[in-house]
Symmetry: C2
Subunit: 348 residues, 2 copies
DNA sequence: CTGGTAATCTGTAACGTTTCAATATACTTG
DNA sequence: CAAGTATATTGAAACGTTACAGATTACCAG
């Protein structure tokens, strides 16, 4: 008395429905278990059977039901990108997403975007994902030297990768741009132009790369015996108007900087506007070296010196890192830092 | 002989595990079915029981298991945003995502990003989602007047919303920016400045809003008795270099335009660079009216006249539209067009 | 009282998958 | 040839949820 009989036949009739293991089992005359195993190349399945099953599966376009797998195994095949919704000007989010997508495309993983507002607790979305198991891995950005989220995910053994490094004695996968090298190189460039009094427009001081950038800046400053003019209360996170006003303010003082290093392309727009508001001219009274992820700065003002950051690459690296981590790869192999390219200027 | 007894007790012990309906059933002393129904306010559940269950559920932080729901009901609680990965310069993707996220945040829906390469068939990702049922609804952009994807989803009764309208006799939810009004208003502005020979930098001609923009452009041109100078083979999709080169080419000819309408902020950067390459000056020999989604154009060149498009709003509208469609709302109520704001210029 | 009906509540099955323990078959080996 | 063993295959159970068809109780009309 095979009660399955009834169902197999029913299965046969529902033509338009999506094929399941049961469908395959019926078609091949095998049991569901065998089919399941054959599809994942289990060793205890006969070579011929395996081939036969896989062939039929491909023919009828079988795709494992994600909900079924997820329910049974807990594996979601989802990578979650956790983002803050307070748009940074000219943000690099789209590039990051494209990079991740690119890496995920040939895999069974899907990308889901989990937002949080910067005024809320950044740990919250992470905790939600870990507690509900709604993803297999997480990618975060805006990493801090001592990062709650990193600690939390580490303690819970949850796979993740960070855009940016930490300094908390926890080893974890990351990808980072070498902001130290960038800042140092930027200062050297300005020194080479004869600039002596430099200012830095840095990221907010709670973020890891603030420190890297500052270190590189300070290091090269000392190296060339230059001095720093402090930027009054402005960071890359501020609005265009804030940065612009802050810049005007700074540039109107006596002893204003003759060289500025900017950590992001969007902010540099505001920076330049401020400089010009103050009646100064780029390449004359001041020079700027700026990082950028888009390619617009050279069009904006050809006098700007530019270092490109490939955020798309970062996204791709991060995606590969989380996946490898999920697969159990050792952390040490999943930490990459991309060196900045050379400082470029528009060739007109 | 209640075989469940064993399991209920086991359930009781696994403290750290995530609560399920069974956990709730055990705690309240009710059956799993009752609990399930109580949580969704089914009418056949006693008022007191309902309250009791919901209270306990809230206390212990019960969250329905998505895989369970999905497997049983087919409901994924996922909205998929289908994107092409060929980055348009200064693309608005991040804004769109933020807008969608915003709308989805207070709902059980998650956002998943499904990319496709522009050289591949754009129908493919859509078909994948529909066939595998991996989302409850889809949002697409780069809508064409006769759009395969729209036809496909319509025929399959799959909920979706498009960024941009179609002209194929199929009613469906959409959100669009009134590009016709934008172009017309842009032309009027240029006419008001005494410009007589206008060029349009349009989107690629296969997209719907190409036609809208062209119509508005042509209409206002006729209205003021102005003439069009054709833009040689450039669209908003082209690279910076292409647009720039194309612009130089155009501006060096006799009878070059004295006014240009540009459909996107990113392209306008290239456009301006081209104009200046040709030795012309903005506000003197030429004026530009450009749409933008970021706020950078005024910083770039204060002479540019700008119309802002709120892509974040678009995202939010689209998300609401799909969700409403999923819930069965009539299509007619889910079609919105946002009117452009006034043409602005930097006030220095 | 009897029989009916509304109001509450409940067990079972099913969604598609994988894991476990078991079975059937063929092949060695002493 | 008995007994063990490797090979190939299998059904049942479980993951967490909801739909279905019953069950139990209380109440009311006749």
């Amino acid at each position: 008395m095979r009660k399955d009989n009834r169902q197999d036949e029913a299965d046969e009739t529902r033509h338009s429905e999506r094929p399941t293991l049961k469908t395959l089992a019926f078609m091949t005359g095998l049991g569901v278990t065998t089919v399941s195993r054959a599809l994942k190349d289990a060793p205890e399945i006969g070579a011929e059977t395996r081939k036969r099953v896989q062939m039929v599966a491909r023919q009828i376009g079988y795709r494992p039901n994600r909900a079924g797998v997820r329910l049974r195994t807990g594996k979601t095949n989802v990578i979650s990108l956790v983002l803050d919704t307070e748009e940074q000007i000219g943000g690099f989010v789209s590039d990051m997403i494209y990079g991740i997508s690119e890496a995920l495309a040939p895999t069974p993983y899907h990308l889901i975007v989990t937002p949080y507002s910067r005024n809320n607790d950044p740990l919250e979305p992470v905790r939600y994902i870990v507690e509900t198991g709604s993803a297999d891995g997480i990618i975060i950005s805006r990493t801090e030297p001592d990062d709650k989220r990193v600690r939390y995910m580490s303690e819970h053994g949850f796979p993740f990768a960070t855009h940016g490094r930490t300094r908390m004695g926890i080893e974890h996968p990351y990808h980072d741009f070498d902001n130290r090298a960038f800042a140092a190189e930027a200062v050297r460039t300005l020194a080479g132009l004869g600039r002596r009094r430099l200012a830095l427009l840095p990221p907010p001081p709670n973020l890891s790369y603030y420190h890297h950038m500052r270190e590189g800046f300070a290091e090269a400053l000392a190296e060339h015996g230059l001095s720093e003019i402090p930027f009054p209360a402005a960071t890359l996170d501020n609005s265009i108007d804030t940065i612009r006003a802050s810049t005007v303010d700074m540039m109107r003082r006596r002893g204003c900087p003759d060289g500025i290093v900017s950590g992001a392309g969007g902010a540099t727009f505001a920076l330049v506007a401020g400089i010009e508001d103050a009646g100064l001219q780029l390449g004359r009274e001041v020079d700027i070296v700026s990082k950028q992820s888009s390619r617009l700065l050279h069009l904006f003002r050809p006098q700007i010196y530019v270092v490109n950051e490939d955020v798309r690459l970062a996204g791709s690296e991060l995606a590969h890192a989380v996946m490898a981590r999920i697969a159990g790869a050792p952390v040490a192999s999943l930490q990459t830092v991309s060196r900045p390219g050379t400082v470029e200027r528009a060739h007109r």
